[in-house]
Symmetry: C2
Subunit: 473 residues, 2 copies
């Protein structure tokens, strides 16, 4: 057994030497990336402009068009190999005059409540809708109550996000069906409107909008749908317990229009060795209209732009082609993401990796990754390079709404995972504003993305067994 | 070799079965702790009172006394085995009327700058101090300039915190000598005052106070010292480049008084099996006076109280004695921490573990730990139990200013390590206020502390080799 042990030792020390060489070089490159982002970053300035000079960027709006022009111009300043606009038709929905709602607690006695129209909702009749309210804890409870209890009423969906779930996106996923399908389902029972508890883990006065769908509900059966702030959801639920015949009034002036032309904004550094292998980093350029869309997803936009700028600044020329794609219309249609994948497919482009940042500009913790076992193991072999930056989360599952249409058997999809505890305090609400983004946290996210892209570019996912061993310890 | 492999497999599977049993039971207990903190936590309400009803709690102030009385009363409500006050004499320094400062850029033309007295500083003369300014990048540069360039001037220490350091406490450690010893050192060269760039990684208008020392400088040689906001430090540095004879005026009304009596607040659950083995969780009750001390260290106070409450609520009776200690005077004297250790020593108490939370109420990431190799390895064997809560940081080094005096060859010291990126935005400044604390982040921190205390209580650090193997996988 002595010779066997000696053999093992030789092999292991060989691996260590090889790993050491790569590890040191890679460490230094990654250190350069973080230094550049933290000491001479551009992401925060870009976000300042997007948020404060332009503001909320709803698909089809003037602001969305301004954002297209601004980011294209900024990408052009970076000296990339190509910058272009990819046309895409997007839905156009306008909020109109701000919503108004109250509950009537006695004849002539009312209390206003904070609501906001859900994106895609129809308006109320011009004079508003006033009706009794029935509270439910979810879609499935409609059946239990039946048409006899629901018809002519406003359905109030009040299932809260679960505070015990550590990952707040899980809590969101557990509630968002009320917002997305609440109107479609309630209409089947003859409801005249829908009020949904905001997808917010905090108690406050901000109503949170978001996308909804009428499914195949005929136009004349569609009912208006709004979100209500968590504080007012609590109030409404409380007062309904003592006053079952309470009436709620709401008025909304939103409108769905014809689709309009918009764009994905794309910039590219063409690969020096394997230009046909394409890596994508991206976020979505559109946002809801209530705040300025700083976290959702101004942060992802500027971080993605920064990845390419960081490569230019540290003088790293990617072997594969690296594209930044600023997707249009993630929030209410996903037209940009679908268009990009459609064009890529029609051109038989070879996308090997796509990374999206669309979970806020908070301190990065790691990545959610959709990949084969071998691809995932390869990424895990790089994990230790991220330790100095407190990046620890490398788990399976994840990507991003905009890049998911690229999915095939081969591509690796990844989503940046920032700390999520505060995200739903701001998500789709009027307080998603620039001051909620911390400069360092944003910059750390950009550097974390760039570091992963650097490693994917350098090592790729071919010859996985051979190359993984070089980095394994 | 077949029999050897079989032997190995048998051993390993034995360990796995044993580990599984413990792992499952421990997992469930930790899940209970997190659920209780997130679903029925008390920490945020306590912090609301400390911050908004009481406010900044400078040692020797009325507010500090209110905080003593409030936390004692709240601990008494928890049904602990003992609650008591431990008297300690503390320094009393008062700020007096708010500071005022300007630079004179031309005859009759002035621009105000934002300063705040450093804690412990003497006042300026009643009419203020007006003098030319010499900018330095640190204490060592004084020697280089010499008395001929410094005498009669105000020394402006302007070395910024390093943005490239990922752990912001490292950046703080690299600058704080300017604040702590700046006046003592500048006085040796005949300076008449000191202005220190705020320990803040962000550019804003808040000056950040903090402790300073005159060392053994005789009273008649002491000079007043203030912090200046980062924005105004940038301005001052810029204008000095084009106007070397610029004069700065500042007026401060602070005063050092006789020591006054105050208290550490202590609550205890007496151990059910090993009452003489004592575990401490704590934070410091005092704070600076500019904000309300929510992050520094209201958060640590309420999280520590919550550890005991969580144990009571889930019905876990610790085998060892568990004490919460709310230390007085961490900020400008450490008298509370020293007193607690002194009394513990005089009573020959056996402290086996102490955990402090004094790095803000942000999302917890893990612990810094001062321990022997074997003790540290034992803690590492518990790491996987924390993974569902995204707690990943278990590194050597750490504890807390208040618990460090307990250090001996045996005790394990630990400090909660929350995300640190935003901490110095608020540290010791007027914007360290309740609204900067996120309820979930605070509650996650309390649960993380309680989980570690639970494991220390259950497994301890005796018989390390035997017990570690039970949990190792």
């Amino acid at each position: 057994m002595k010779s066997f042990c000696l053999f093992l030792i030789l092999i292991l020390s060989g691996i260590t030497v090889s790993a050491q060489t790569n590890y040191t070089a890679d460490s230094l490159n990654i250190r350069k990336i973080y230094d550049m982002s933290l000491l001479n970053g551009k992401s925060y300035n870009w976000l300042d402009h997007l948020s404060n000079e332009i503001g909320g960027r709803l698909s089809g709006s003037f602001n969305a068009q301004q954002a297209v022009e601004y980011t294209k111009a900024e990408l052009e300043k970076l000296g990339l190999d190509k910058v272009w606009l990819q046309p895409v038709m997007v839905p156009k929905w306008t909020r109109g005059e701000r919503e108004f709602a109250y509950v009537q607690t006695a004849p002539g006695v009312t209390r206003n409540v904070n609501i906001t129209a859900l994106g895609g909702s129809i308006a109320t009749p011009a004079g508003g809708t006033k009706a009794k309210v029935i509270e439910v804890q979810g879609l499935e409870q409609l059946k239990e109550y039946g048409r006899e209890n629901i018809e002519g009423k406003i359905v109030f969906y009040n299932r809260p996000m679960r505070a015990d779930l550590i990952q707040t996106f899980d809590a969101y996923g557990g509630c968002v069906d009320q917002r997305y399908s609440g109107a479609e389902e309630a209409a089947k029972y003859g409801a005249v409107g829908v009020i949904v508890r905001s997808m917010n883990l905090r108690m406050d006065d901000f109503p949170h909008t978001g996308s909804m769908s009428y499914g195949d509900t005929p136009e004349n059966k569609r009912i208006p749908a709004a979100a209500i702030s968590t504080n007012d959801a609590k109030y409404l639920s409380g007062i309904l317990k003592i006053q079952k015949d309470l009436e709620l009034y709401f008025r909304m002036n939103c409108e769905n229009h014809e689709d309009v032309k918009s764009y994905n904004v794309i910039g590219e550094i063409t690969g020096s060795e394997n230009p046909k292998e394409i890596m994508v980093v991206g976020g979505h350029l559109d946002s809801w209209d209530l705040g300025d869309g700083s976290h959702d997803d101004g942060a992802g936009v500027v971080q993605s732009m920064e990845v390419l700028r960081l490569f230019k600044e540290i003088g790293y020329k990617p072997k594969k082609t690296l594209r930044v794609v600023l997707f249009m219309n993630e929030e209410n249609g996903l037209r940009g993401g679908n268009k990009y994948a459609e064009v890529a497919k029609s051109k038989s482009e070879d996308h090997v990796f796509a990374l999206e940042s669309d979970a806020g500009g908070f301190t990065p913790r790691g990545f959610g990754i959709t990949a084969t076992d071998a691809q995932f193991e390869k990424i895990l072999s790089w994990k230790k390079l991220f330790k100095p930056y407190l990046i620890h989360y490398f788990e399976r599952g994840g990507g991003g709404a905009d890049i998911n249409p690229l999915k095939d058997e081969k591509i690796v999809l990844a989503g940046l995972r920032p700390d999520s505890q505060r995200y739903f305090d701001y998500h789709h609400a009027a307080n998603d504003t620039f001051d909620k983004v911390n400069k360092r946290e944003l910059e750390l996210g950009a550097a974390t993305m760039a570091s992963l892209v650097f490693l994917v570019d350098k090592y790729g996912f071919n010859n996985i067994n051979k190359e993984t061993s070089e980095l394994a310890d």
